[in-house]
Structures are given as C-alpha cells and as structure tokens.
Amino acid sequence: MRFEAPETVEAAVSLMAGEPGEARALAGGTDLLVQLKSGRVAPDLIVDLKRIPSMTAITQEDGGFRIGGAVPAAEMLEHDALTAAWPGICEAAYLVGSTQVMGRASLAGNLCTSSPAADTVPAMVAAGAMVRIVGPDGARDVACEDVPSGVQKNALKKGEVVDSIFLPARPARASDAYLRFIPRTEMDIAVVGCGISITRAADDTIAEAKVALGAVAITVQVVADAAKAIIGTRLDDAALDALAAACSAACKPINDKRGTIEFRTDVAGVLARRAAKIAYDRAGDAA
C-alpha cells in the first residue's frame, strides 16, 4: 500500500488516474481509516488531499461560498459568514460524528462515501450545492443530488476527486434547516434526514423552496411535490400537512436494523414539518 500527499490538484489527479490498482482519496479519513482498520478495503494507493491549499480553504465566490474538498466540519462551524448564510448545512455538518471526528470530516468525504444516511447530503441538495469534480479530463460541475448513484456508488470516474463544493449566493430572506431522526441524542446515524431551504417573499409567502430527504431510499431524494406544497403559502397547517404527505409519499425505504418502512415513512413527514418551520423562521430573521 502506497501513501502520497501531493500539494496540487493536478498532482492528485495524476496519481489517482495513474494507479493501475485501487486508489482512494483521503480527506479527513473518518470513513476510510475505519474501513482500512476493519479490513473492508485494502487500496493500493491512498492520496491525501489535505496538503493541497485550495482543498482546505473556504473562499467567497460570486456572492456564494466555495468549500474545499478537504475542509473539516469544525472549520465550517467557525466560519461566521458561512454559518450565518447556511445554518442548515452547518448544523448537518455538526451532526457528523464526535467533536474529534468533526475536526477531520469533510462535506466532500461525507458525499463521496455515498451512504444513503449521510447527514450533510440532504442539506447540500436542498441548498442547491454544485460539486466541482476534477479528473484527467479537467473539471466539471455537477448538482449535488446527481453525485450519489447507489449505496457506496457515485458519479466519480477513475482518477476523479471532488475539488470543492459551491454554495450559491442567497437572496435576502432565505435560509435553511436540517433535521435528522436518531434514537439517541448524538454519535448516531440518521434513520431519516430532511434538509429544507426556503426563500420568503416580501409578503412572507414562500417564494422558493427545495426539500431533500436522506435515508429513505438508496440515494438522497429531492421531493419536488413537497416544495410545491409550501411555495406560495405562509406555511399554514394545510401547507405543512401537504408537505408532510408529499415527503412520506416520496419515501422508498427498506425495513432494516435502524427502522421499519412505516416508521421511516411517518417520521419523514414529521421531520419535514419541523425543518420547514425552522427554515421559514430563520428566513424571516435573515437579512
């Protein structure tokens, strides 16, 4: 097993593309190291991305934020402008593992692990995040929801890594929220996750919304009907009922050790209601 720590994106891509065997990118390593230790993976090459300056930076770009592929959650949580603009994404990042894990774990890593239960993914999808993927053929920008393609499967091709995640500029009176259900209070994996982003019009009706669910299907689900159910409303009870019903209807879960089909379907609606109220209130307070 070979370990490389290049200092440029180009060098990282060239190493990943040039490895004839299995190559794995290492950002925080909070998934990869566990898999290595348990013997689940034994790659021929590990490419550490943390020495690449652009990969570990949060920069403002076109009124939005570009978050490098190896930026740890803890740094996001200490970035005042980012936490003010995207509280939902930041609260999702805050749910990833323990304080120690947050010192390493990245959004890009959470996305590329391609678990249906990844906490930050529904939040990023609701936010309209764009993922910049770099590879031997150059860079491409892909909508966050198009990256995961199955359990531990994603759209990255041989030699590709996630360079950064871009959160677009927000209009005034816009905010987001993420909630997950776990049986405990922390250190757990989502049984259902729900990210919602909301923009309020001047009359306090919802002008724009995007709703995404995690852990209710093999990949993150964008629920267009749920967004439609609340757009144009002031989030009255009828709108919330319709939102919850649309979210429950969008669930395609399985029965497993973490929850039953019925449980996940019910709780998806419950979380959507609760997350929508939080996002709506935040949007009212947002400048």
Binding site: D188, F263, D266
Partner: protein, 741 residues
C-alpha cells in the same frame, strides 16, 4: 442511617470506611500508564487471528489450512483437531471457543492462525477454506421453543433442555381467592455487556509445557483452571496474570480466546497475542439471554397480593445454561405472596453462549413482574409505592425462591422513595413517572488474600479478585480501618495465580463483601502478630496487649506502663524481633446479604416519532455499609444507565439468515452521555449481619429495576403499555398508531 447496634462485630465509628479518598488506579487510567489486556508485548511475540463461521448453523465438511500455512510469516494454523480430547466438563466451553463438527452461531470460531504481524494474520485467516453444509437454524426464543422448530444442533430432540421451578403455597387456590387478576406476556431482546475493552490476551508456552497467560478477565484463577483442563496441563504449569480491566459486567467471567492463544503458542513455540475486534466481541462474547415471560398475579380488593405465577422462557445460546433458574428465583423475590410459583425453561438457539451480565436473568424477570404489579395498581386504583409497601418482603418473609429473609432493606428503599423529593415533584406536561423495585442475591465464595507490613510502616495488600468496580480502593480502606492507619499507607494489587490461593471470579457482587472479609481477616491476623512483637518487646503476655488507633497499647494498668508502639515502630524493628510481619486469610465466604433497590424515572415520549427522553432518574438502594460512597454511587448510576439502555434501544438484531445485523457500537445503541440526566442516588445502610463492617454487594441490583421503571414512565407519558423490550422509537410509534412494529 446508623449501623444497627445489635451486630456486635460491626465497628460503629469508622475512620476510613465511609470516606471518599482518591482512587489508587486513577492516575494510571487517565495518563495511559495502566496496562490493559492488549498492552502486553513479549520478545518474539506473534499475532493470532480467529476464523469465524458465516453461518448460523452448519456442518463443517472440511477445513483446508494449506494455503494459510504456506504464506510466509505464518507460524501456526490450528483447528479443533489441535486441542487434546476433552473430559466431559470442558467440552461445552471448548466447543464455544473452537467449533468441533458443526458451527452453532454466526461468528463461531472454526480455526485460528498466528503470524508475524496483525495484517499478515488477517490475510492468512482469509486463506483458510472452510466447506460448510448449511443446516436449519433458529434464533428467536419462542420460535425455538415451538413444536417443530429447527433443532439447534445435531443429536438433540428438543431445544428445551431444562426446566426449573420455585415457589410455595397453592397458586390455583390463590387465584380463586383473588378479586383482580392481571395476566400478560412480555418479551426482552438480548443485550451485550458493552464493556469498552475488547477481550485481549498474550499466551506464552515454552518447550517444557510451562506457560503464562496475561489477559483481561474477571477471574484469572478461572482462566487458569479452565485453560489447564482444556490443554491437559496441571495448575502449577500455568500462571495467569490479570491485566487492568476496561469493564466486565459479567462478560469476562469465562474464556473466549485464551485456550486458542495457548494452543497457537504451543504449536508456534512463540508468545501469541490475540485481541478481539469490536465485531468479534459482539459476535462471539457475551451477551445476555433473550426472554419471553408469561405473568399472572392476583390480589384482593384491599390490595393484598394472594397469588403470583410466572413462566419464563430464556435462550442463552446453543449450549443451554441460559440462567433462567436465576430469573425464576428472582422474579417474585420482592414480594410476600402466600401462593407463588415461577417456572423457568432453558431453551437453545443458534446464538453465542450466554455470559453473565450484571444480575444475570433478573432484569427481564423484574420487567415482567414489576410491569404486572404496576398494572395491578392501576386496576386497584392504588399508589404503586403504597401497594408495594403493603406487599413487600421483610425480615421473616419466606422468599419466593425458598429461604426466609433476615434483615433486608426493601421496605426502607420503598419508604425512602415515597419520601424522596423526586416522588412528590410536580410532573411537567407531557411527561410520565415510573417506579419499580429490584432484587439481587449477592454472593460470597472462595477467597484468599495476603497483607504484608513493610518495614517503613506501609502495607502491601494482595487480592485475587480483579478490580472491575473500584475494589482496590475499598480493600485499602478496609485494611486501613482494621489496622488503624491512614488509607494512603495501604496499596493493593491483584496478584497472579501463583501468588495466592484460589479465588472465585469477581462476580455476584461478591468482591467488596468477600475479598473485603478476607482483607479484614488478614489485617486482624497481622494485628495479632504486631501485638505479639509488642508483647515480646515489653516482655509481657500477649493477652495484656491491645491494638487501637494503629498502635499496640498495654491493656490496662496491670499490664505495665509502656508507651504505645505504633505499627510503623513495630515494623521498623521487625527484622530484629522475628522477621517480616504479614497476615493471610483463606475463606469460603458465607453470609452475603441480599440487596434491594427502588428506582424512580421521569420520561417524555415524542408522540410523533416514538422517541423517549429520560428527564429525571433516582436510584435508592441498600448498600449495607458503603465503604467508598463514590464507588457505590457510581455502581448505582452505572447499573441504572445500562438498564435504561436495555429498556430503550439496545438489542441483538438477527436477520432471516440467522446472522447478527448489528455487531458494532454504531447499530448496537448504548446510551451516550447526552442521552441522560444526572442519575440521582440515595444510599441506605441496613448492615449485613454477615460482614464485620455490614457490607452488602451493590453492583448488580441497580440494573434490575430500570426496564419496568422506564416502561411505567413511558405509559404515563404517552398512554402506551409497552410489553416488549427494547422500547425503541419504531415500536413505541407503532403502538401509538395502533400497529405492530
């Protein structure tokens, strides 16, 4: 509460006992200096890895080890064929450590390798080719007990292998006299002890057949005797040293990897270390029994219990020994019922062999019985504490399992609960409050200890019971109390199997009681010798010397007028007055007093998700005498937390294929710190007449009441009576929505 004056041996004014000194192992543990099972390394040491079954039940057709053996760096590969033929007594134990003709559960060991590195050992393990013929399996206790169930192993005719019955009176007559009857069935899933430290050992056998084992265990004498019997060695050929231990809770009272490490070391001629992964720990160590329990209780309109009947079905893996007998004994132990019967059926299933877990078998039985009692209170419209105070066992009550109780503290804990501010505190909207009590037998057993008076006046104490709950501090306190010297002068170690007589395992909440008794005896013997040296120095008869406040004194004016000789002064001169001074004790301790507790819990159920939050929790228990109250409170809190985890989320989850679905802490959910409020404690002290300081074991009782206490609080919060443990969110939400989970 003052010590009862009727117990003449019990010292009334303690100087060290009952104080809260700094724990002697604390610095080692927080700095990393403490040496746990995996911390031992020896020159030339190699690493063992165990090959485990991927079937719940299968016949082993063949095991091909040739590819593993051919891998450079591999020193030994073993299967069951590498162990000597066994005497009857050890067959089940070895079968669980290394399968013979068939594998009986997912994770059952079938072979082991030892190689020069951990990663090489893992590669070699993957090269061992096992051919299986899959056989039908069953993992659920009721399914295993049903007619026509798949048989758990070859050569048996039924999965029900034993039945135990306890009780007295005539239950049919009792129910005929009852005005109100409650009858229900309850189920509980298996839980793991969840200790932080995985099993680990280093075994080293020389060419002369003499061997050492270093391991984390609750009983190194048990490890020695078991491994020696399995390997055909004599006890003197095997020395076992217990490492520092990162939790046991009963799960380290048997062997898992030690015979395998010894067999690998024998074959390789090198020291072999085996460290279980967390997955191995869940697959192949622990857990508790899972259970299914029918309860029927009857009472008169005035609230007097007249009959109790319970049928308990426990599965404890593929070898029997589910400890259902202890569940049947403990079931009604809190109550004075004229007509009572408990029947326990021991049932096999294709799961790992059960290990003891903190008051083994009692929590499930208490969940069923206490839940039924609470329902009875609702039907009779009486306060649950008043009902229990009316019907509780007291001194003189003939217990449901046979003996007549002496001085016991159940009534005192119930009264203390009634008087506790928690019980009378207003309950916030949406929350429910539960109460339940619990019982544990406690145990004494074979114990040996040794106490050396050093020449500088300090004391070295050797005990043979591994310290899983702070016992070294308690031992030092009891020795200091008996000798009349400060706590800081005494240091205790857990000595190896060559250094002391046989000691039973640290279990049954026995260590502070029984090892404490041996330590006090050892100190008393040392005091006799110290007095002899003083008598010799003063040239007076030893009968004329008395020991008080850490010094020899002439006993009265007739004995002579001598200045007292302190322990340190006598010790300093010991070389010229007859040599080293020490005290020893070898006992089979009797008289462990039974222990009772009462718990109060407030909880709030999120009615949209079924998730339960514990908002307040209080443990009240009789400790006899709390030697080190911090540790006693810690035991109360730890037991309650493990019980809450069991009540809410912990469970073994098996798939249709009979394989364990959640062999890790991610999906086996023990409570995290933020899940819980501070657990309040109240220590009651009703002295145990069987111990000079009044000690009762305290470690196990606190895990007994929480299952029913939490269930009662959930009922109060959301109106649902949960009869199946764990009361996980999917189950509670299903109950709220009127569907089955």
């Amino acid at each position: 509460m003052p010590l009862d004056t009727q117990h003449e041996n019990q010292i009334r004014d303690f100087k060290v006992v009952g104080t809260r000194p700094v724990r002697p192992d604390g610095l080692d543990k927080v700095t990393g200096r403490a040496r746990y099972g995996a911390d031992m390394s020896l020159p030339g040491m190699i690493f063992g890895e165990i090959v485990r079954s991927t079937h719940a039940h299968a016949k082993i057709i063949s095991i091909d080890t040739s590819a593993a053996e051919a891998l450079p760096g591999v020193h030994a590969v073993i299967t069951r064929a590498d162990f000597p033929a066994q005497q009857a007594g050890m067959i089940d134990t070895l079968d669980h450590c290394m399968a013979d003709a068939e594998v009986l559960y997912d994770g059952h060991a079938v072979a082991a390798v030892a190689a020069s590195s951990k990663s090489l050992a893992r590669r070699a393990a993957a090269l061992v080719k096992v051919k299986y013929e899959a056989l039908p399996h069953v993992t659920d206790v009721d399914a295993a007990a049903a007619t026509g169930a798949p048989l758990v192993k070859m050569g048996i005719e039924s999965n029900i292998v034993d039945t135990h019955e306890f009780g007295h009176g005539d239950v049919e007559k009792g129910f005929a006299e009852a005005d109100v009857i409650v009858e229900r069935t309850f189920t509980t899933e298996a839980t793991h002890q969840g200790y932080i430290e995985p099993h680990a050992c280093v075994a080293n056998m020389g060419g002369d057949g003499v061997a050492d084992i270093w391991c984390c265990t609750q009983g190194h004498f048990m490890v020695r005797n078991t491994c020696a019997a399995i390997m055909g060695m004599s006890a003197s050929q095997l020395r076992v040293t217990a490492s520092e231990i990162g939790g046991g809770f009963g799960g380290k009272t048997c062997v898992y990897i030690e015979p395998t490490a010894l067999a690998l070391s024998k074959k390789a001629g090198r020291p072999v270390k085996i460290v279980m992964s967390r997955q191995d720990v869940f697959l192949a160590s622990g857990p508790t029994a899972s259970s299914s329990i029918d309860v029927k209780i009857g009472a008169r309109k005035d609230g007097t219990l007249v009959a109790g009947l319970a049928t308990l079905r426990y599965q404890g893996g593929a070898w029997g020994g589910s400890l259902v007998n202890m569940g049947a004994m403990a079931a009604f132990a809190c109550y004075d019922i004229p007509n009572v019967k408990a029947v326990g059926h021991d049932i096999l299933a294709n799961r790992p062999k059960l290990a003891a877990y903190r008051a083994p078998s009692a929590p499930m039985a208490a969940f069923a019985i206490e839940s039924a009692m609470t329902e009875m209170c609702e039907k009779l419209e009486v306060d649950p504490l008043d009902f229990r105070l009316k019907n509780c066992a007291r001194a003189g009550t003939k217990s449901s399992y046979g003996p007549t109780y002496g001085e016991i503290g159940l009534e005192a804990t119930l009264q203390a609960a009634k008087d506790h501010p928690h019980w009378s505190a207003p309950l916030p909207e949406g929350q429910g409050r539960g109460v339940a009590c619990g019982f544990w037998f406690n145990f004494g057993g074979q114990t040996s200890s040794s106490l050396n008076i050093n020449e500088d006046g300090t004391v070295g104490l050797s005990v043979g019971t591994p310290d899983i709950g702070g016992s070294r501090a308690a031992m030092c306190q009891m020795a200091a109390e008996a000798l009349g010297i400060p706590y800081e002068k005494v240091r205790a170690i857990v000595a190896d199997t060559a250094s002391l007589g046989y000691n039973d395992v640290t279990d049954g909440s026995r260590t502070t009681f029984a090892s404490g008794l041996a330590v006090i005896n050892s100190a008393n013997q040392a005091v006799e010798r110290l007095c002899e040296r003083a008598a010799q120095t003063w040239d007076i008869p030893v009968e004329a010397v008395e020991w008080k406040d850490g010094a020899a004194h002439p006993a009265g004016a007739n004995a002579g007028n001598f200045a007292p000789l302190t322990l340190a002064e006598i010790a300093a001169d010991s070389g010229s007055t007859g040599g080293p001074i020490s005290g020893h004790s070898e006992i089979n301790a009797d008289g462990a007093g039974v222990s009772f507790g009462t718990h109060i819990c407030d909880a709030e159920v999120d009615q949209e998700t079924g998730r339960t939050t514990i908002t307040r929790y209080t443990v009240i228990q009789d400790a006899g005498k709390a030697i080190h109250p911090d540790y006693v409170e810690g035991q109360f809190q730890g037991g309650a937390v493990q019980g809450i985890g069991w009540a809410l989320n912990e469970e073994y989850i098996y798939g249709e294929d009979g394989r364990l679905q959640n062999a890790g802490f991610l999906d086996y959910r023990i409570p995290v710190a933020s899940d819980l409020p501070m657990i309040d404690t109240q220590i009651l002290e009703i002295p145990n007449p069987g111990h000079p300081y009044g000690v009762r074991g305290v470690g196990e009782t606190p895990i007994v009441p929480p299952l029913a206490t939490v269930a009662h609080a959930i009922k109060g919060s959301c109106g649902q009576r949960m009869t199946s443990i764990p009361m996980s969110p999917p189950k509670v939400l299903a109950a709220l929505k009127g569907r089955t989970a």
